[in-house]
């Protein structure tokens, strides 16, 4: 499989240190069990946030920001490619939540609903940016241009991953970012992206397969071993 110029040897790029959530499996999805105290607490916090925001209490919005602001901004940056647009998208999301909180019926969790708004806002911003680029007769490549961010352990890996992510389909990219980067569960992602849990799992599988193909160096032993 070609590597599209993105490949770096896996062992050179990825820390060999074992990571606890290297392969995250969701026990709750496989074992029927009653709601845990933590889940109950999260549910009541979610309901309290929704009620606070519905009543127009700015402290509720502040609590929402304190709990999810950083994650929202990170997700927006990964979709949009730069922190300035990401901050605008987060702000716009809060305004949209405030404007349309009356229409929130509690069919999903309030936080899930908020992230759905954020994702849609990010894609609206992307489309708007593309239109502006087309008007300006600039390079209309859909690939967002990543801007510098806090240095990680493997900056070259991060860049390679960003480029590879840009080549995935929208759903594959979203599911990968939400699951692997932001740590959401498939049930939550299903609510955010309006798909089934099974579709979320399948999309993540396809996304990782594609990323692997794009990032993996050609293996000379591939044919032999298979």
């Amino acid at each position: 499989m070609g590597t599209m110029g993105l490949a770096l040897p896996w062992r050179a790029r990825i820390s060999s240190t074992p990571r606890e959530r290297g392969t995250r499996v969701e026990p709750s999805e496989h074992f029927a069990a009653g709601a845990s105290p933590a889940a109950m607490e999260a549910q009541s916090e979610d309901a309290a946030l929704a009620a606070g925001c519905r009543s127009g209490d700015l402290r509720a919005f502040e609590r929402l920001y304190a709990r999810h602001g950083a994650r929202m901004k990170n997700l927006a940056r990964n979709v949009l490619g730069n922190p300035v647009d990401a901050e605008d998208a987060v702000q716009e999301t809060f305004l949209k939540v405030q404007r349309s909180i009356a229409s929130f019926r509690g069919q999903s969790s309030f936080v899930t609903w908020t992230y759905r708004i954020l994702i849609n806002t990010c894609y609206d911003a992307r489309r708007s940016r593309l239109r502006k680029r087309e008007v300006a007769n600039e390079d209309s490549a859909e690939t967002p241009r990543p801007e510098p961010r806090a240095p990680g352990a493997h900056p070259s890996l991060r860049m390679a991953l960003e480029r590879a992510l840009a080549k995935l389909t929208r759903h594959q990219r979203d599911v990968f970012l939400l699951y692997e980067v932001e740590g959401f569960r498939h049930a939550e992602i299903a609510g955010m992206l309006e798909m089934t849990k099974t579709a979320s799992k399948n999309t993540l599988f396809q996304a990782k397969k594609n990323l692997r193909q794009m990032l993996e160096p050609p293996r000379s032993s591939d044919a032999e071993t298979r």
């Binding site: 896996w10 790029r13 990825i14 820390s15 990571r19 959530r21 290297g22 392969t23 995250r24 499996v25 026990p27 496989h30 127009g56 700015l58 919005f61 502040e62 920001y65 602001g69 950083a70 994650r71 901004k73 990170n74 940056r77 990964n78 922190p83 901050e87 987060v90 702000q91 809060f94 305004l95 405030q98 404007r99 961010r149 806090a150 990680g152 352990a153 493997h154 900056p155 890996l157 991060r158 991953l161 960003e162 992510l165 990968f176 970012l177 692997e180 980067v181 932001e182 099974t198 799992k201 399948n202 993540l204 599988f205 990782k208 990323l211 692997r212 990032l215 993996e216 071993t225 298979r226």
Partner: protein, 221 residues
């Protein structure tokens, strides 16, 4: 639990924790699965590189300001539509009852306005005669004309052969008055409702009546 290489992708997609443990045990003795599992896990580790939860101190104040401004605008809009939103707070039964009451009030008001609608303005223009008045005028006119014709018939011998200059003058005057009467009658025929014409005609008839009376008085003298 035993897994084989063929189970690998299924476990990657939707494996249970038990299946993952079994796959890793299998991967320890299978170089291909070992490589695949390592690479699969490595993607999750690599994803951490995309996680940057650094603080943005200016973001919340900016959002807070925008939210406060939006709330202010919303409140201003809300004041305008406050009475509508109050109505929506009622139960559907009450809303129906209110709508019914509103319809009844509307119907009563409409009826009252219809009954007490302003009467069409009275026609104060005396120059126009209505059909009933016109008939009365015409019949009175005919009777008056007939009476004057009788008077004219009595004065005719003197006027046809005037004995004096005065009678000759009366004769000429009566010819002029007859001509004026003919003109006015013609005009009145075209515009029968014109009261002004009728007044003029009546005046000319009166003048003819006076002239005939003077002619008859002159004969008696």
């Amino acid at each position: 639990m035993n897994v084989t290489c063929s189970d690998r992708e299924r476990i990657f997609e939707d494996g249970t924790p038990v299946e993952w443990v079994a796959l890793e045990a299998h991967a320890a003795s299978c170089p291909l699965c070992g490589e695949e599992v390592r690479a699969w896990k490595a993607l999750s580790v690599a994803a951490e590189e995309l996680r940057d939860y650094s603080d943005s101190p200016s973001l919340w104040p900016r959002i807070e300001r925008a939210l406060a401004e939006e709330a202010k605008r919303k409140a201003q809009r809300g004041q305008r539509w406050n009475w509508v939103s109050r109505l929506t707070r009622f139960s559907p039964g009450w809303q129906t009852a209110l709508a019914g009451a509103f319809a009844v009030v509307l119907a009563i008001s409409g009826g009252w306005i219809y009954i007490h609608r302003p009467v069409a303005p009275v026609d104060n223009d005396k120059s126009l005669l209505r059909s009933s008045a016109l008939k009365e005028v015409e019949s009175a006119e005919t009777a008056y004309e007939r009476a004057i014709d009788k008077l004219a018939a009595q004065a005719r011998p003197q006027l046809e052969n005037p004995a004096t200059q005065l009678l000759a003058n009366y004769h000429e005057k009566l010819l002029v008055l007859d001509s004026a009467i003919a003109d006015l009658r013609a005009q009145a025929g075209l515009n029968p409702s014109n009261a002004q014409l009728r007044y003029q005609l009546l005046a000319v008839y009166r003048e003819k009546q006076r002239t005939l009376e003077e002619v008859l008085e002159a004969r008696q003298r």
